[in-house]
Amino acid sequence: MKERRTIELPGLEGLVLSGARPILAVILALVVSAGLIWAAGANPIEAYAALLEGSFGSVAALANTGVRAAPLLLGGFAVGLGFKAGLWNIGGEGQIYLGATVATAVGLIPLPVPAWVHLLLAVMAGFAGGLLWALVPAYLRAYRGVNEVCTTLMLNYVAGYFVSWLLHEPSPLAEKGAFFPMSPPILPSARLPILVKGTSLHAGLILAVVLGVVLHFLLRYTPFGFRTRMVGENPEAARYAGVGVARQIFLVLLVCGGLGGLAGAGEVLGLKLRLFDFFAGGVGYEGLALAMLANGNPLGMIVAGVFFGSLKAGAGKMQIVTGIEASMALVIQALTVLFVIAIGFGERVRLTRQQKKKSRAEEGVASGHELHQ
C-alpha cells in the first residue's frame, strides 16, 4: 500500500520518481531482510548496526567498503552503459576474467619504461582484454541480430575455464609449483597505488569514480552519447534520423566489454596482485544488479555501488556480532533489485494504461475529422 501511494504522487512524475524508485526499493529490501534476520533468531537492529559499523564505522571499514565498491562499480558500468543503448551485457564476469588476464600478462613483463607508464599499459591492456572478449557477441548482435544475452552469458563460462587453463602449468602465466592455480605476482611497477596506508584501498576506486563521471559526461554531452541514448530509446527513430544503429550497438557493446575488462584489471593490479583461478566469484553478475538498481545512470551507480560495497564490507562484522551469515548481504542486494523491478513494472503498467487512453482518444479525433467533413 505504502509503495503504491508513493508512486502515484500526482504531478511529481519523471525526475522525482526516477530517484525515488531505488531509494524506496532499498528501504523495502531492508525491511524484508529485517524480517529474515529476525526469523533467523537475531535482533535486526543490532544486525544493521553491526553492518553499518563494519562498513562506515572506522577508517579500515570505510577502506573495505571502497575496496568492495571498486569492481562492482566498473562491472556495473559495463552493464549500465549497455542499458542506455537498450542492450543487456550479461558478460561482465567473462570480460572481468579476460581483462584481468591481459592486464596480468602485461603486468608480469618487466618493461623498460617508468612505473606509471607500465601501470597505464596494464590498465589499458585490461580494457582491451574485455573489449576483445565482447567482440564476437557485439558483432553477432549488431550485424546478425543474435541476442546478446545468450552470447555474453555463455561466454562467461568459456572465459572462466579458459583463464583457469591459462593458470595451470605449463602455461607461461602459471606460477611454477604453486599449490593453487595462480599467476606469479604482478610486478610492483604495474600495481595500482594504495590510497590509505595500512589498508588495501587502492586507486581502482578512483578509477571507477572518475569513469562514472566520464560516462555521465559521455552520455549527456557528446554526440556518441546522444546516439547511444537514441538507439536505446527508439532504434526506429534513430534509423530515421540517420544514425547507423548497428554500428552504434557494436561500438557500445565493445566499450561495455572494455569496462568489464577494467573491473578485472583493477582487481588484479590493485587488490589480488596475482591472477587467481576463478577469482571474480560473481562480481560481474552483481554489476548487473547494480546497473538495474540505478537504471544504468552512471552517477546513480556510484551511489548504489557504495551501498552494495558497504553491504559486502559490513557483512563480516554482522556475522561476528549476531551470527547471521555474511551471505545476508547478497540477499539484501537481490531483494533491492527485485523491488526495483517490481516498482518499475508497476509504473510501466500504469504508463501503458495512460498511453492507451490517450491514443484511443486521439484515434477518435482522427476519424472524427473525416466524419465532420
Partner: protein
C-alpha cells in the same frame, strides 16, 4: 422480409460513438445463411468498428444483434466464438513456434485435461483439409508455412470451432493473385456448406468475383446493400466515396517553376513481408507544387515515402532529389524534410525531451556540437526559437516529449523538418490523429512551403484533404499509379474508381 431461419446474422441500428466521433451510425447489416457478404468502404468508414462490435471487442452504444433469429449480447470474443462467430484478422494471430495442429487447438479446452486430444484433433484436421482441398500438414511448424497457408490455417481454426459466421478482414492483402483465386473458390465452397462469410475489402474486382451481396459503408453509415452483379463499378465507387466533398480548395498563387525537384524513375520495392509494394513507379514533383497521393491505405504509399527518405532499399529504379541520387538516409535538412506516417514510432523519441527531439537529425553538427561536445545552451536556444515559431505548446523545452498532446508532437516534427527550408517535403499522413485546429494548421504549413518554392509530396488516405490541398493528384493502387489528375478539375468519383483499381475509364478520361 426473409424468414429468420435464413438469416444467419442481423445487426440492427448499431451505433458506436468514440470521444468526438460517430464511428457507426445506426447501421443495419443482414447476412444470410450460405451467403458471402461483402463489406466495402474507405479507411475509417466504420468497417472495422462494426466487425469489432460483432466480435465482442467493442460494446455498441445502442442497437441489437441477432444470431439465427435470437437476440444476443456479445460481451467478449469468447462469447462470439461460442455463438459461432469467427474472425480472421488482417495480421495473423498464430504462434510461430507451434505446429499447424497445435495452433488450431490452441485455446480449445481439452476433454480430459490436462492432456491434449492431439490424435482426434489430427484426424479432424486432415478431414477438414481434405474437404477443402488443402495440402496442409498438421505437424509443420507455422514459421515454415507460406503466407497463403497461414491464412488457411486461420480459417481452419474457425472451422474447428464450427464457426457459422466467418469474418475475413482484407484476406487478399497478403496473397498473390493465384492464391487469391484459390481462396475465393474455397470461400464459395464454405458458403455452399451453408456457412456465412463477411468479406471485408476495398477492392471492387474481388467483390464482383466472390460476394453475393455488398453493403457499402461511408462515414459510419450504410449507403446501401446491392448485388454486385447488377451494379457497375462506377456506381459502387460513387457509393463509397461520393460524399458531397467540400471542395473548399485553398486559394493559392499560380506557380511558374518547371524545375523538377523529386524525380522517381522506375522504382520497385518490397514491403516488410517481402511482397512487392511498388511496381516500376515513376513520378516527378516540381518546385512550388503540392502533389497529392490518394489511395486506400496499404497500396504502396508508405513504402514510397520510406524509399525517398532512404529508409527502405528499392529493388529497382532510382530516386533523385535536386539531381542528388538517394542511396541512404539523407542527413542534409535543406534537401529533404520528411514527416513520417507514424510519428510516435519513427519520427520522435518519446522519452527524449522536446529540445532533444528538435535536433535528432542535426545534433552532431555545429552549432549543436562543437569540438565533439554537445552545446546544450545552443540546443536550448534553438528549441526556444522553434517553439515560438511553430507555436509548440510546452511548459519548457526540457520536458519529455511524451507529455505533449498529439498535435504538439506533430508540431515538433514539422518544426524540425521544415526549419532548414528543404527543397523537398514528403509528408506522409501528417494530419492523422490530429484535432481539427491542428489539421488546419498542418494544411496551412504545407501551402506555405509550396508558396516558398518547395516541392511537396503529400500522402494521405483522406481523399477530401488531398483534394483541398494538392495541385496535382496521383492515385495509387497496388503500388502503381492509376492516373494523374489536376486537383482543380478532378472528378471525385473518377478518383474513387481509380482508388479501387479501375483504369479503363481513366484512360479515356485523361
Amino acid at each position: 422480409m426473409d424468414q429468420s431461419a435464413d438469416i444467419a446474422l442481423r445487426m440492427v441500428g448499431i451505433t458506436k460513438r468514440f470521444p468526438g466521433v460517430l464511428a457507426n451510425n445506426n447501421i443495419m447489416l443482414e447476412v444470410r445463411v450460405g451467403e458471402v457478404h461483402g463489406l466495402l468502404g474507405e479507411n475509417g468508414a466504420g468497417k472495422t468498428t462494426l466487425m469489432n462490435v460483432l466480435y465482442g471487442l467493442h460494446q455498441p452504444d445502442s442497437g441489437r444483434i441477432y444470431i439465427r433469429g435470437k437476440e444476443v449480447r456479445i460481451t467478449s470474443p469468447r462469447v462470439a466464438v461460442d455463438l459461432g462467430i469467427g474472425m480472421v484478422h488482417q495480421h495473423f494471430m498464430l504462434a510461430d513456434n507451434l505446429s499447424a495442429l497445435e495452433n488450431v487447438i490452441l485455446g480449445i479446452p481439452p476433454k480430459r485435461p490436462p492432456l491434449l486430444d492431439l490424435d482426434s484433433a489430427r484426424a479432424r484436421f486432415k478431414e477438414l483439409a481434405n474437404e477443402y482441398g488443402l495440402g496442409l500438414d498438421p505437424s509443420t511448424p507455422v514459421w515454415q508455412l507460406p503466407v497463403g497457408d497461414r491464412q488457411w490455417l486461420e480459417i481452419l481454426k474457425l472451422l474447428f470451432r464450427d464457426a457459422r459466421v466467418l469474418i475475413l478482414d482484407e484476406p487478399t492483402s497478403v496473397l498473390a493473385p493465384s492464391q487469391a483465386a484459390r481462396l475465393f473458390k474455397s470461400i464459395r465452397r464454405l458458403a455452399d456448406k451453408s456457412r456465412s462469410i463477411v468479406f471485408i475489402s476495398h477492392k471492387l474486382r474481388e467483390m464482383k468475383e466472390v460476394a453475393d451481396r455488398v453493403t457499402v459503408l461511408r462515414d459510419g453509415h450504410v449507403v446501401g446493400t446491392v448485388d454486385p452483379g447488377e451494379t457497375s463499378p462506377t456506381e459502387l465507387a460513387q457509393m463509397m466515396v461520393g460524399r458531397n466533398v467540400f471542395l473548399d480548395r485553398r486559394p493559392r498563387p499560380p506557380s511558374e517553376s518547371k524545375q523538377a525537384v523529386l524525380v522517381v524513375d522506375g522504382l520497385s520495392c518490397q514491403d516488410d513481408r517481402g511482397v512487392p509494394a511498388l511496381r516500376d513507379l515513376s513520378l516527378t514533383v516540381h518546385a512550388g507544387e503540392i502533389v497529392g497521393v490518394a489511395g486506400v491505405g496499404g497500396n504502396g504509399q508508405r513504402e514510397l515515402a520510406e524509399c525517398i527518405a532512404g529508409l527502405r532499399r528499392p529493388t529497382e529504379g532510382t530516386i533523385r532529389i535536386n539531381e542528388k541520387l538517394i542511396t541512404g538516409v539523407t542527413r542534409d535538412p535543406s534537401l529533404l524534410g520528411y514527416i513520417p506516417e507514424d510519428r510516435r514510432k519513427t519520427g520522435l523519441v518519446a522519452d527524449f525531451t522536446v529540445e532533444e527531439n528538435l535536433i535528432i537529425k542535426t545534433f552532431d553538427n555545429p552549432p549543436f556540437t562543437r569540438r565533439g561536445i554537445l552545446q546544450w545552451s545552443e540546443i536550448g536556444d534553438r528549441a526556444k526559437t522553434l517553439i515560438q515559431d511553430y507555436d509548440i505548446r510546452t511548459p519548457t523545452p526540457a520536458i519529455p516529449l511524451r507529455h505533449l498532446s498529439g498535435g504538439n508532437q506533430q508540431r515538433v516534427v514539422i518544426a524540425r523538418e521544415l526549419n532548414a527550408k528543404p527543397a523537398l517535403l514528403v509528408a506522409s499522413q501528417p494530419t492523422r490523429g490530429l484535432d481539427v485546429a491542428s489539421v488546419e494548421a498542418v494544411h496551412n504549413i504545407l501551402l506555405q512551403e509550396r508558396n516558398r518554392g518547395a516541392a511537396v509530396l503529400f500522402i494521405s488516405t483522406e481523399l477530401p484533404e488531398v483534394l483541398t490541398v494538392s495541385d496535382r493528384i496521383l492515385v495509387f493502387f497496388r503500388g502503381e499509379i492509376m492516373g494523374e489528375l489536376n486537383a482543380e478539375t478532378a472528378d471525385v468519383n473518377l478518383i474513387g474508381e481509380m482508388m479501387l483499381g479501375h483504369r479503363e475509364r481513366t484512360k479515356q478520361a485523361v
